[in-house]
Symmetry: C2
Subunit: 284 residues, 2 copies
């Protein structure tokens, strides 16, 4: 397990609960994170060296921010066992393939994955084994990927309580740009806008945040490095959907300025169908 | 109680639980809403005629969308008892004063109020007496308002479990534009953007909505008429804060396009302080 934050540590808890590995090696960049993991007893060995962590491993999980994938892949490549499976949990899949696949030695299988689960909290102390239950896990194996390796990664996530969906990496990145990346960008923006207010006004915004704003503050409390790397690595898909969003927002802004009640009412009514869909899909 | 949806019916439940009135009259525009209220046994009498509802009342609560305030104020004015108190629960206060105060007869006290509480559900069947517990209720009495009347309305909300804050109506509207109106506008926009996607993509957006999007669908499921009237009646404050939001979003968009990781990381880090404030203020 390379990277031992919310997702990595939660998955380690699942692996232990389900008895899926004889040995779990926890690798984190900082000694601080490792110390937390050790205190929680979440692994069998602890190291800050990715190459040492993968020694003898049959399954390697990358659970770091996307920005260090290439460097880690390069570091671990010489130590990977033939037949080993490398997977990841990153939120953008095209860049995961771009940064990891070229470094993988012959006979090592790379199966990119993305559990659609998380909270606004970070660090190994925030993880829990039930995080993935009832959620989707998307796998984006490149064409020609080893079916046995894909199935093994799929089985890991099924044991975590997730349902598997296999899709193309580029398509994944487009869907997630809408369902995850844009919502986070918007939440960060609106909370940032409030952060720039005069001090007395900002205090009142916090005080009366229950009116809608607090939901955005929760989303905008997510890990900054993680999200920086998402936006740097899914730029085109995010800019595309952001362009659509801006057009739609401008249209509503215009309706407000002109006092066009019918336009507003229609826009606010149409959105209810999607909410019903979310509830019916049991994702609410 | 004129208007018997989520807020009106919840307040009626409080009034009954606390034994605050000898007689509760429920007034709704549609027979359908009244039938629901009657079935739930939430009032002592039921009518679709606002003028009939206020007959003999010592406290009148307006809990309709803002757009019908002026018409209702005009209708009820001739039947209001001398010394009666009229209050409301609307989300914009300047327009409440503009539309109601001029119609109030001599000796009738108008005390505008706004409980900062709600859910995405509508109708009397969605209400519950605990809705206001631990929340703020803002009162915006105009200069020279009767102190006894203000105190009586304040006491009603204290019995509902709320804490009272008194402020100027224009200031209230500015604060709420940020904490409530803009978040709702943004949520409606992003869900609307998803609604316009090609059908197959839209299905996937619903499927993978747990990644952040679903929180917006909840906010964007709120009552369309209610929100139409908010935006029509708090236009200037909403457009002002929307202008700031647009500038900030454009700056982030530019940073994404240029690959400026440091700008993104800084923006995503600054927002954490506000979240801490929300948690410390026990509004999370």
């Amino acid at each position: 397990m390379i990277g031992f934050g919310l997702i990595g540590s939660s998955l380690a808890r699942v692996v232990r609960r389900e008895g899926l590995a004889r040995h779990i090696s926890a690798c984190a960049r900082t000694g601080e994170t490792l110390a937390k993991a050790r205190k929680l007893g979440l692994a069998d060995s602890y190291t800050t060296d990715p190459a040492a962590a993968v020694e003898g491993a049959d399954l390697v999980v990358l659970a770091t921010p996307l920005g260090v994938y290439a460097a880690i892949a390069e570091q671990i490549a010489p130590r990977l066992e033939p037949g080993a499976i490398v997977t990841d949990v990153g939120s953008v899949k095209s860049c995961a393939i771009r940064d990891v696949a070229p470094h993988m030695p012959e006979g090592v299988h790379f199966v990119p994955g993305h559990p659609i689960a998380g909270t606004e909290h970070s660090g190994p102390e925030s993880g829990f084994a039930e995080l993935f239950e009832g959620r989707w896990c998307v796998l984006t194996p490149p064409p020609g990927a080893d079916e046995g390796a894909v199935e093994r990664v799929a089985e890991l996530w099924r044991r975590a309580g997730s349902t598997i969906e296999v899709m193309d990496a580029a398509h994944h990145d487009q869907v997630l740009a809408i369902t995850s990346h844009l919502p986070h960008l918007i939440a960060y923006t609106i909370v940032g806008t409030a952060t720039d207010l005069e001090n007395h006004l900002q205090k009142e915004v916090v005080k009366f945040s229950a009116a809608g704003f607090r939901d955005f503050t929760r989303i905008a409390a997510s890990d900054p490095i993680f999200w920086r790397d998402v936006f740097l690595n899914n730029r085109d898909a995010v800019l595309e959907v952001l362009g659509r969003f801006n057009e739609d927002l401008t249209a509503l802004q215009r309706a407000i300025r002109r006092g066009e009640g019918a336009v507003l009412e229609d826009a606010f009514t149409r959105t209810r169908a999607i909410r019903r869909g979310v509830i019916e899909a049991k994702q609410a």
